[in-house]
Structure formats: C-alpha cells, structure tokens
C-alpha cells in the first residue's frame, strides 16, 4: 500500500497541476499568447528541439558554464588552500573576501559590460568571479577543519610538508571542497542564466527566454525554463554524484 502510494502520489500531484494549468489556459479568460495551453508549450518545445535552436542554446550556455566554473574552481580552491594553510594569507585576504562575498555577482554585470564589452568573455568572467567566493570560503573552512592530531601524527611519523599536504590535508579537506564546488556550480548556473539576459550574448538559454519576451512567446519561455530545470537536475546528479563517488567516498571520508 505504502509503495503504491509513494509512486502514485507524486504522479497525481503533477496531474493535478497540469490539469489546473490547462483549465486556467482554456477557461481562465487570459490571452492565450500569455497563458498557453500544455499542447502549445509541448509544440514550442518540439519545434525548438527539432530545428536545433534549443541544442545550440544549451551548448552555448553549458560552454560558458564550464569555462566560468573552471575559473571559479581553480581560483577558489587555490586561494582557499593558501588561506587555510598560512595564517598571514588568511589575515590579509579574509576582510576582502568577506566583504565581497555577500555582493550578488549580478550587481557587477553592468560594470563588466562597461569594462569588457558585451558577449562571451565578460559573461564567463562574471560567472567565474561570482561563484569563486563560495569555493574559497568552503575550501578555507575545510583546510582549517583538518584535525590537528592527524597533522601532528603525520609529522611525527616523518612525513614531509608535501606529503602532509597530499596525504592528510587534501583528503581531509575534500568533503568541504566538494561542497564548495557543488555550491559554486549551482551558483554559477543560476547567475549565468541571468547574466545571459543582461549581456546580450549570441545564443544561450537565458538569451532564448529574454528574446522570446520581446515577441510575447510565452510558450517558448516556458519550454526553455523546463529545459533549464532539467539541465540543473542533471548537473547535480550526474556530475557531482559521480565525482563524489570517485574521490570522497573511495577515500572513506564520508559514507556512500
């Protein structure tokens, strides 16, 4: 009974939501251009999918996400480790990092347009800068959270500085670093969609939504939002689930 319910209830919820939307679209008295029925949304999705627009936009967005996230990961992990390992680096950088951290990355967008122009490069840079702070903070906390006992016992057993870093600090801090990377990727993804709307890039999912607004193509907008959600879920499950299984779980830092 419980098993049947646990499958049926979610399906029923989605069915109810879909039916409510369809009723609203058909009998709600709203202009169909603004509140399209499910059929129209599906049609828009199929049209965009079959003529390649959606694929091109998704690839353009994912390319920017990858490049931006790479910047955030490299900068964030190295700065975070430096801050965690050396007290003077922490003292020097912490005020700056904690001041910049709460500023929404999107607020820099117009400034980046002014400095770097429109297009791919400022979009990637901004995505990278905006998501690097989360990675810095989490990496720093992770290095700090490595148990001093582990460090001292490794030292006593004659490990060199490099070995301590590779065999003790890195695996010890890794669960935190992974959390930071995961949050950073999620943040980069959220910001990138909005940045694409402000930076008038060529192609991209954010651009698709923004462009469709001009022509009141609500069906296109909703279809694109659905794709954005699907990619978001895939990023979370596929990319990070897999990396975590390879590293943290294998090294026995967290349970699978």
């Amino acid at each position: 009974m419980k098993r049947v319910l646990s499958i049926c209830l979610p399906l029923a919820t989605f069915a109810v939501i879909a039916a409510a939307w369809q009723l609203l679209a058909t009998y709600g008295g709203f202009p169909p251009k603004l509140v399209p029925g499910l059929g129209k949304i599906a049609e828009a999705f199929l049209r965009l999918a079959s003529d390649g627009t959606l694929l091109a936009a998704a690839f353009a967005t994912l390319y920017r996400l990858g490049a931006g996230f790479l910047i955030a990961a490299v900068v964030g992990v190295s700065v975070g480790i430096a801050m965690g390992r050396r007290q003077w680096v922490e003292d020097t950088l912490l005020p700056i990092v904690s001041f910049l951290y709460p500023i929404p990355g999107l607020a820099y967008a117009p400034l980046f347009v002014l400095w770097f122009g429109l297009g791919d490069i400022p979009t990637i840079l901004l995505t990278g800068v905006a998501s690097s702070f989360t990675v810095i903070i989490n990496t720093w906390k992770g290095v700090k959270a490595v148990k001093p006992v582990w460090l001292r016992s490794a030292e006593v057993m004659g490990a060199r500085d490099r070995d301590i870093f590779r065999r003790v600090v890195l695996p010890g801090a890794l669960p935190y670093i992974m959390i930071g990377l995961r949050l950073g990727l999620a943040q980069a993804w959220r910001i990138l969609i909005a940045v694409e709307m402000l930076m008038s890039v060529k192609r991209g999912l954010g651009w698709l939504i923004f462009g469709a607004q001009t022509f009141l193509n609500t069906d296109v907008m909703l279809a694109t939002i659905a794709v954005i959600g699907a990619i978001g879920i895939l990023l979370e499950w596929q990319v990070f689930g897999r990396i975590e299984r390879w590293t943290v779980v294998r090294w026995g830092m967290v349970a699978a």
Binding site: K2, L5, S6, L9, P10, A12, T13, F14, I17, L34, Q87, W88, D91, T92, L93, L94, P95, I96, S98, F99, L100, P102, I103, P104, G105, L106, A107, Y108, A109, P110, L111, V113, L114, W115, W189, R190, I191, I193, A194, M197, L198, L205, G206, I209, F210, A212, Q213, L216, T218, M221, L222, T224, I225, I228, G229, I231, G232, I233, L235, E236
Partner: protein, 265 residues
C-alpha cells in the same frame, strides 16, 4: 580559527585592503581606460558622499530591503507550515517533495521575463522573484530540521503528556531551529541576489539594482562602484549584526548547537 582580537591580524587585513586600493588607484590613473570607466578612489568616494548626503542611498537601499523582507516574510509564512507538514506526515512529503525538486533547480531569475509579461514591470514581479529565490532553502531546512529532532525527545514529551501544540512549541521548534536559522541565512543571500537581478531586469522605481542599471545607461562607473560598496556594507552588516547575534541568542541559549556537537564528539 583564531579566537579574540589580534593586532597582527588586523594590521595584515588593513594592509591587504590598502594594497587592493593602491593597485586600483594605479590602474585607474594609468590611463589604460578613461577615468569615467575606471574612476580613481577619490571620485568614487565623492559619489558615495553625495549619495549619502542627499539621501539617495538610504532611500534606494530601503526600497531594496523592503522587497527582500516582504518576499522573505511571505516565503517564511509558506515554508514553515509546509516544511513541518512534510516532515510530520508522510503523505504530504510524497505530494510536495517532487514538485519542490522540479522547481528547485530552476534559477529564480529565469522567471523574470515571464513574470514581467504576466504581472508587468515593477514591484510585484521583483517581489515574486525574491519569494521564488528564497522559499526553497527555507522549506528544505524546516523539513530537515523537524526530521532531525531526536525521536526520543518526542516520545519523552508525549509520555509526559504534552499535546501537539506544546510538542511543537517546546520540542520540535527549538530542536529544528539551528537548521531553520541556517536556511534563513541561505535564503537571505538568495533573496538578495534575486532582488538585485529583479531590479536590473524588471526596473521598479527605486532600488540599488535600479541605480546600477541607470548608471550603466550613462556609463557612470563611479556610481556603480559606489553602489556596489554600499551593497557590500549592507551584506556585512546583516551577517555581523543580524545573523550572528540571532544564532547566539536563540540557538546558543537553548543549548542546541553545543548540545548536538557534544553528542557528535
């Protein structure tokens, strides 16, 4: 992490900030870009001063914060009952969790153009974005927090004759509070991002995002930088004077954090 105040740390921090400002100043005056695009510190300072003096900053910051708090308030009012319901009743969890999991990965700002079409530009669209941005971390934290309450406490309280209301007020709520405060903190950050994005895209009349957006039209980098500094200050103020004391007063006093930590160690 170092406890207490240290002059060495302070001096190093000040040196870091000074170095950053010096690099900026050299860069700004080098003539690589025009000073309108990379204004030196002095002119950014002058803009900050004039924005403070004529009340522009306070007025717009209040408009932005009002949107954040209205949105957060509505989110909180929805998220707490929903999260508690999901944690306490298995059927509610099966109904709402799939919907949340589908909506959660969609960035709130992806909805802005759609909200503009449906509700027009201005306050309503911006506040809706704030609600969308802030509600998911809250629901998740309430849900996890209530589930994390030690079942033994619940049984003990029930045996001692606590009814549903008392159980909620005296056991479940304090027990879930560390999670809820963490969620609130996360939600505030998200709401802040959402409101700035919403103001940039949905152009309501006042707001910090609106200042930045307008300054961009006039290539006025000084105003943009001044506003960014203001946004940073607001962020630091909230972290220092709202969330950290909140955590100390509620969670610390009820012994929740040290309690759970001592259990773990």
């Amino acid at each position: 992490m170092r406890k207490g105040f240290s002059w060495v740390a302070f001096a190093r921090g000040a040196a870091g900030v000074a170095a950053l400002l010096a690099v900026w100043e050299v860069f700004a005056r080098s003539g690589m870009y025009s000073t309108a695009m990379t204004p030196p510190i002095e002119s950014v300072g002058r803009v900050i001063w004039s924005m403070l003096a004529d009340g522009t900053f306070v007025k717009n910051a209040l408009a932005t914060l009002a949107r954040v708090f209205i949105g957060l308030g509505i989110s909180f009012a929805i998220a707490v009952p929903l999260g508690v319901l999901m944690a306490r009743h298995w059927v509610a969890e099966r109904i709402f969790l799939p919907v949340l999991s589908v909506l959660l990965p969609i960035p709130s700002l992806a909805w802005v153009p759609l909200f503009i079409l449906w509700f027009g530009i201005g306050n309503l669209a911006t506040i809706l974005v704030v609600i969308y941005a802030s509600i998911f971390p809250l629901v998740y934290s309430v849900w996890t927090g209530v589930r994390a309450v030690n079942p033994i406490w619940l049984r003990a309280a029930t045996v001692m004759g606590a009814d549903e209301t008392t159980l909620f007020r005296k056991v479940i709520w304090p027990g879930a509070l560390p999670y809820i405060i963490t969620g609130l903190r996360l939600s505030f950050g998200r709401a802040f991002i959402g409101v700035i994005g919403g103001e940039l895209l949905a152009s309501p009349k006042l707001g910090l995002g609106e200042i930045i957006f307008n300054a961009a039209e006039f290539l006025d980098a000084g105003t943009m930088l001044a506003t960014l500094v203001g946004i940073g200050v607001i962020g630091v103020i909230f972290e220092r004077f709202v969330f950290q004391p909140l955590e100390r007063v509620t969670v610390g006093r009820w012994g929740m954090v040290t309690g759970t930590q001592s259990l773990k160690n």
